[in-house]
Amino acid sequence: MTLIDLANPTRFLALTARVLPWLAAATVILLTIGLYQSALAPDDYQQGATVKIMFIHVPNAWLSMFVWGVMSIASLGTLVWRHPLADVAAKAAAPIGAAFTFLALLTGSLWGRPMWGTYWEWDARLTSVLILFLMYLGLMALWRAVDDPSRAARAAAVLTLVGAINLPIIKFSVDWWNTLHQPASVMRMGGSSLDKSFLIPLLVMAVAFTLLFVTLHLAAMRNEILRRRVRSLQMMQASRVAFSSEMGTGSREETASKGAA
């Protein structure tokens, strides 16, 4: 089974129909384990119970970048290999990525309120995630602005790849801008010095969220394929109706002219 075998949408639909229930079940089980473990994780000596927001916040933030990576690979598939499902994958991933980014921002600001005393801080990470969110919204607007999917796909692919080159530059410059304007007044997590009692639930949650993304993405791709089929069936029907009515008026005119003669 290679990637090219999936080029046939019918085969893709059949395969995902078999795989999806298992994926969904694995996601639910891992999410349950992860949430249970994070609920049992000890309170931080400084942050108290609010540290538990981390178990939701960090996987969301990690996925917000991971999804752009998936979209970039799909865009390469559109532009280079012309894989027929690549643009479906790219289109289906954008709203999911935007949702993860939004959740990362939301949980981040909910975490910031008790920790920093404010919902929004022009912190470097928050700012660059906000810009990422804006770029997701721009891509979704691009998909919605054009009614021909293949034309929109190539434009979105170019933009996704340009974004993939630009995102590290934006991240770097926002870091630079931030250190210029407010020297390290913001406290942050202890990086890799995370204790094992936090690390294990966090990793479980990260895997669970990744599985959640894969499940949602495959389901969204199925929906997109079916939506396109419905659309082309509707177009065929519309053209058939238009054609037959044209024939109908034509024959009526013919009989009318015959009657006149």
Binding site: A141, A145, A155, W177
Partner: protein, 222 residues
């Protein structure tokens, strides 16, 4: 080579003649800067502190909004098809068009900067710093915005959608442009570091922009 220089000369000539609209960019720049005192109040000290930021925002908007029709007019009269079919690589042709656009619409902005600096109560050194950073930074804006212009012509959509797509990409240029100007005016940073990064951003967009625009034109036009 002659084809490229002919293309540059043609584009500049079109931009400067009636209907070209290169100088409308300067007028827009002037209007945006004049609007600012009405928004923040006629406080000269505050204006001179905000001056570099205002000038940079004005130049950013002016150079992106004039880019909208970089390929559109050529697409309408068919010359874009000739450019795509010619033996000159499309990437080079795109770069030449962007260069011509920068010469016709970007340089006047920099020439206008000293006058606007007077209005914003900037002294000689500060005005010079802003003009120098604009000189180094506006090519990056033009070459990044060209990607948006290419998308606009392939999608038959312009205006707001393109601005939404391209403006986030120009954030680094804005950050380092303003940082370099502020470094001269208030310190404590040195001018060199942000200015060299600004030049690096221009060079990177000089490479990425034409390739992305050409890819979008090649795949999108039909």
């Amino acid at each position: 080579m002659t084809a490229l220089s002919a293309l540059i000369r043609r584009d500049i000539r079109i931009a400067l003649r009636v209907g070209g609209g290169a100088l409308i960019g300067v007028l827009f720049f002037l209007t945006v800067v004049v609007l600012m005192p009405f928004a923040v109040g006629p406080d000269l000290a505050l204006l001179s502190r905000l001056g570099p930021a205002i000038l940079w925002l004005g130049a950013l908007l002016a150079s992106l909004l004039t880019l909208d029709r970089l390929f559109m007019a050529d697409h309408e009269d068919g010359s874009l098809d000739l450019i795509t079919m010619s033996r000159t690589p499309l990437e080079l042709a795109c770069a030449a068009k962007a260069l011509a656009h920068w010469l016709a619409a970007g340089l006047p902005l920099i020439v206008a900067t000293p006058v606007l600096g007077l209005l914003l109560n900037l002294d000689m050194v500060a005005t010079g710093a802003v003009a120098l950073t604009l000189l180094a930074g506006t090519p990056a804006l033009t070459f990044t915005g060209m990607i948006g212009a290419a998308l606009a012509v392939t999608l038959h959509r312009g205006g707001l959608l393109m601005a939404v797509l391209v403006l986030p990409l120009s954030i680094p240029v804005l950050i380092f442009g303003v940082a370099a100007s502020q470094a001269v005016i208030v310190g404590p940073m040195t001018f060199g570091a942000p200015f060299s990064i600004l030049c690096a951003l221009s060079l990177v967009s000089l490479v990425v922009g034409p390739f992305a625009a050409a890819a979008s034109l090649k795949h999108g036009l039909d």
